[in-house]
């Protein structure tokens, strides 16, 4: 049988991509298999665990519930891109300092939700943070360190990634 395919134009981590993709292919599979962006993970493939999360036009979305063809003409940012841009730097540092991860499999999605909280819920208390995190499954931590890490970033106030943080990430990253 031949698979129906469709040309898709998408801006991935700032880079314009044009690919012919199977219409049934999910976005997370496209990112992982076709683009080699393996930072978005497959946990459940039915939209519960959140390990596959990416940003689509700045909104956190499930990569396993989105078809690749649905992002035609849109911007997709993954954990890799948001790490390199420095947008996640403060949260990543807080996650490390608070040990807000163990196996790291959920962390890509968890950090994107955390970024959403930091951007849109600046006054969130612990209970609100917990509510907002409730779409991301972590089996390793007790969630408490994750709440602590996000709370610490909220308390520290808005600090856009500085040049020095970006430089540090450059030497430590990729």
């Amino acid at each position: 049988m031949s698979e129906a395919r469709m040309t898709t134009h998408v801006l991935v981590n700032g880079q314009a991509i044009e690919r012919e993709v199977p219409v049934r292919q999910h976005l997370v599979d496209f990112l992982r298999e076709d683009l080699g962006l393996t930072g978005s993970h497959l946990g459940c493939e039915h939209g519960v665990c959140g390990a596959c999360q990416v940003m689509i036009d700045g909104q956190v979305q499930r990569g396993c519930l989105t078809l690749a063809v649905q992002v035609d003409g849109r911007r997709v940012d993954t954990i890799e891109g948001l790490s390199d841009s420095g947008e996640l730097a403060q949260l990543q540092q807080a996650f490390l300092a608070h040990n807000a991860f163990q196996c790291g499999y959920c962390s890509s999605g968890m950090l994107l939700t955390a970024l959403h909280i930091v951007r849109h819920h600046r006054q969130a208390d612990r209970e609100t943070i917990r509510d907002l995190l409730s779409g991301n499954y972590c089996r390793c931590t007790g969630y408490q360190a994750i709440v602590d890490a996000i709370e610490s970033v909220l308390r520290a106030g808005s600090q856009p990634a500085s040049a020095s943080v970006l430089a540090a990430l450059g030497t430590k990253g990729a």
Partner: protein
């Protein structure tokens, strides 16, 4: 990225804090340092199984039985073979030529029996989800498409799903075994009957525990790459025990052990799920050999629910006898557990029930014990060792019945516990079940817990709220935990599972220390604590240490990660190797300086005068000379800057830990919902290597235990069909429902090692279900309601309250 033209010899990968600590003390054991080498996981740059790419990779999916018990009448595979991209379609008999079957028994579990199991079922499927054929294709999509083109004609057989029916044996799953009993154990202490007959009070209760499963965020996976030119097999696998798997692939695929390499890169959670032999993973490895190319299998979530090991389906009746003054005389246990159609290889499915027998009565002084255990086959998925194996059952039975006794005597449950816990100065102590304890700290932990939670204050608040119709409950659960197992756990039973572990430490020319350890990293921070131990032992900063684990071709031989053994056993090996490396470094320095090595020390990456602390040379300079200019050293002197040490716990069968948890809940008697308000845990894992890592690992364990108590249950119907095999239906704890958890410690180092570390990974899971259960029953006590079937769902609570029909 801003690539740099010149990289420093020493990578600048640490935080300001760790550098400051290094300069300050050089002693990292016991400090809450951020994990080294873990930033990659926060940038999506880890390497989990499904991230690995190799050329000519083929993908396998499995045709799985939709029935719990059915004979294969015919299997039509031709149409699937003709599908686009399909490389091979293989059934059980065809694969059996490439992979020998196994039987999951151990010699020291007397009388345990099981049936021969093949990688792909032959003739008959004995549980839903058992694989009956494999489809290998160029892509996973093509393989999955071809699944629809396989036709299986089934003769559906009667399914045994009820444990008691299995024990009764009207249908025997494996006729050649004679009955459905996998393992039976009985023990009774002398004078038991008379002691119980003479007791002032005997309380009795039957508890039910639901089946649940690990739900690792990363599903199981394997990538097997056979190289026919060299007759070698390289296996990438998310596993906790690479050397165990190396041995198993070798023996069942007929490849010399030294030709099998098992590599375990980043693992997305294990919890015991990834320490067993799974038929589909064995089939994948065999297919790689058969097809002479790499083959990958990654379970999807539906397959995970159907085939990842389940655990903990028990019905147990426990009795406690005591005096009217409140002194426990003894415990009496009858436990029945259903394990699916096979005992899982090679650790067996008898261990969980065996642990329940060993551990019931846990923290309490008692002279009499009787236990009867039946482990029976059923036509559900297999069960096996899952985090805190048997402990959550034994602790819930013990702590539940202890609360019943306290209630019957009208004693405060904390007081009753204090009265009966083994005294902190009574060690070493041997239990009626034969279990030996080196040194525990029940009373210290209890006192610390009650103070931390303001027990008296909470009791007063509870009374006040009850008057207003608010039902809050306080539940206590003391616990003991098996850690650092000796060869008595598996090795004596004939399993080729290493009880020892090893560490190799190498000083590299640039002054860095490379650490290779046989214990694996599953995310708990093993590599980070090994770095802390190594840096401390050698005398270097955290930024000078790199740790490598998870590769049988590279690390020393060892057991891996299970039974809370990584830090205690692997950590001791690292400590001893670190000390030995330091001694060898000083020999080189002494040769260079023409001094006695005893006059020198290694501190903060430098060789210094031991007395004055004056710096004599950097380790980088020492490395330069030792590796590149040994001609300048005295004739006949050979530096040895790579050393290996091993460690095996021998003195005790297990190095037990102890602790106690408390749960504060509020039960909404209108809706049956339980709100977790707070949770406390005081535990004693001996020397704490990194408090921050230990605390959150304990919290994670507690949350997993809370899942068992409130949410998790693999629901099967009478025909053996799993009814909730997705994450939408099988509920796991999420952030919103979980409380803040207070963790505190008592430190009683084990004297069986110099490091003194005991295990910490399973304690949270061991005690949490009992604490939550006791809290719920405490909340509902004024209403005369008492629950005993986990999980305590709103439905079960409302039924117990009589609010909805049973």
């Amino acid at each position: 990225m801003n690539a740099r033209s010149e990289l420093p010899l020493v990578a600048d990968d640490d935080t300001v804090q760790t550098r400051a600590d290094a300069a300050a003390s050089g002693r990292f054991i016991g400090q809450s340092l951020p994990r080294t080498g873990a930033r990659k996981l926060l940038q999506g740059r880890g390497s989990y199984l499904d991230d690995i790419r190799v050329p000519r990779l083929a993908h396998v999916v499995f045709v799985r039985s939709p029935h719990a018990h059915a004979r294969i009448v015919s299997l039509q595979l031709e149409e699937a073979r003709a599908c686009p991209g399909v490389i091979a379609v293989v059934d059980g008999p065809a694969l059996a030529a490439w992979c020998t079957p196994w039987v999951g028994v151990l010699g020291h579990l007397k009388g345990i029996k099981s049936a021969e199991q093949h990688a792909i079922a032959i003739e008959r499927a004995c549980s839903q989800g058992e694989a009956v054929a494999a489809i290998v294709a160029d892509t996973r999509r093509q393989a999955e498409d071809a699944l629809d083109h396989v036709t299986v004609e089934w003769d559906v057989l009667p399914a045994v799903t009820d444990m008691q029916a299995s024990l009764d044996g009207s249908v025997v799953i494996h006729p050649q075994l004679g009955d459905n009993v996998c393992f039976h154990r009985e023990l009774v202490t002398e004078g038991f009957e008379a002691a119980f007959a003479g007791a002032d009070l005997v309380v009795e209760k039957t508890y039910d525990f639901a089946r649940h499963t690990g739900v690792t965020n990363e599903p199981r996976g394997i990538l097997a790459d056979y190289n026919p030119a060299e007759h070698t097999l390289t296996v990438y696998q998310g596993t906790q025990a690479p050397h165990m798997m190396q041995d198993i692939f070798s023996r069942h695929l007929g490849i010399p052990e030294s030709n099998v390499r098992v590599i375990c890169k980043d693992v997305g959670g294990s919890f015991g799920i990834k320490v067993h032999v799974y038929p589909d993973e064995m089939a994948t490895a065999a297919l790689s050999v058969m097809l002479r190319r790499p083959v990958k299998f990654v379970a999807d979530r539906m397959e995970s629910f159907l085939t990842d090991i389940h655990a903990r389906e028990h019905t147990a009746t426990v009795r406690l006898a005591c005096t009217k003054a409140g002194d426990i005389i003894g415990f009496d246990l009858v436990d029945l557990t259903g394990i699916g159609p096979y005992s899982v290889y090679p650790r067996t499915s008898g261990i969980e029930g065996n642990q329940v027998v060993n551990l019931t009565g846990g923290p309490y002084r008692h002279a009499h014990y009787r236990a009867r255990l039946d482990v029976v086959f059923t036509n559900k998925n297999v069960t096996c060792q899952y985090r805190a194996v048997g402990h959550p059952i034994a602790m819930a039975l013990t702590e539940g019945i202890v609360d019943e006794a306290a209630r019957a005597l009208n004693m405060d449950p904390a007081q009753f516990r204090r009265r009966n816990m083994i005294a902190d100065d009574a060690y070493p102590y041997t239990f009626p079940s034969g279990v030996k304890f080196e040194k525990l700290s029940h009373h210290q932990c209890l006192d610390k817990l009650l103070a931390a939670m303001d027990y008296e204050g909470l009791r007063a608040e509870q009374q006040a709220l009850r008057a207003r119709g608010v039902y809050r409950g306080i539940g206590l659960a003391a616990m003991i935990e098996v850690t650092n197992p000796s060869p008595a756990f598996y090795g004596v039973g004939g399993a080729r599972i290493s009880a020892q572990d090893g560490a190799t430490l190498r000083l590299d020319p640039a002054g860095m220390v490379t650490v290779l350890v046989s214990v694996t990293e599953q995310g708990q921070g093993t590599e980070a604590v090994f770095a802390q131990v190594a840096a401390t032992a050698v005398g270097v900063g955290m930024d000078r240490v790199r740790v490598i684990t998870g590769d049988t071709a590279v690390t020393p031989y060892g057991g891996g990660t299970w039974a809370s053994r990584g830090a205690g056993i692997g950590g001791e090996a690292v400590l001893q190797a670190g000390r030995a490396l330091k001694a060898n470094i000083l020999e080189v320095a002494a040769a260079m300086l023409s001094l006695d090595a005893d006059l020198l020390d290694v501190r903060d990456n430098q060789v210094v005068d031991a007395m004055s602390g004056v710096v004599r040379m950097s380790l980088a300079e020492l490395g330069r000379v030792a590796y590149f200019r040994p001609d300048t050293l005295p004739m006949g002197f050979q530096s040895e800057l790579t050393v290996t040490r091993h460690y095996t716990p021998r003195e005790y069968g297990f190095t037990f830990t102890n602790g106690i948890q408390a749960s504060l809940v509020e039960v909404d008697v209108q809706t049956g919902f339980v709100k977790l308000l707070k949770h406390w845990c005081v535990e004693d894992c001996g020397t704490i290597l990194n408090p921050m890592l230990v605390d959150e690992q304990i919290r994670g364990g507690i949350v997993q235990g809370i899942g068992a108590a409130l949410f998790e249950e693999c629901l099967y119907d009478e025909a053996g069909q799993l009814l909730n095999g997705s994450m939408a239906e099988y509920l796991v704890p999420m952030a919103a429902e979980m409380p803040d958890i207070v963790v505190a410690h008592v430190e009683t180092p084990t004297r069986s090692s110099e490091l003194g570390a005991k295990g910490a990974g399973e304690a949270g899971t061991a005690g949490a279900p009992a604490a939550v259960m006791n809290a719920i029953n405490d909340a509902l006590a004024p209403l005369g309601v008492n629950l005993s079937a986990q999980p305590f769902t709103p439905q079960r609570i409302l039924r117990a309250l009589g609010a909805v029909a049973a």
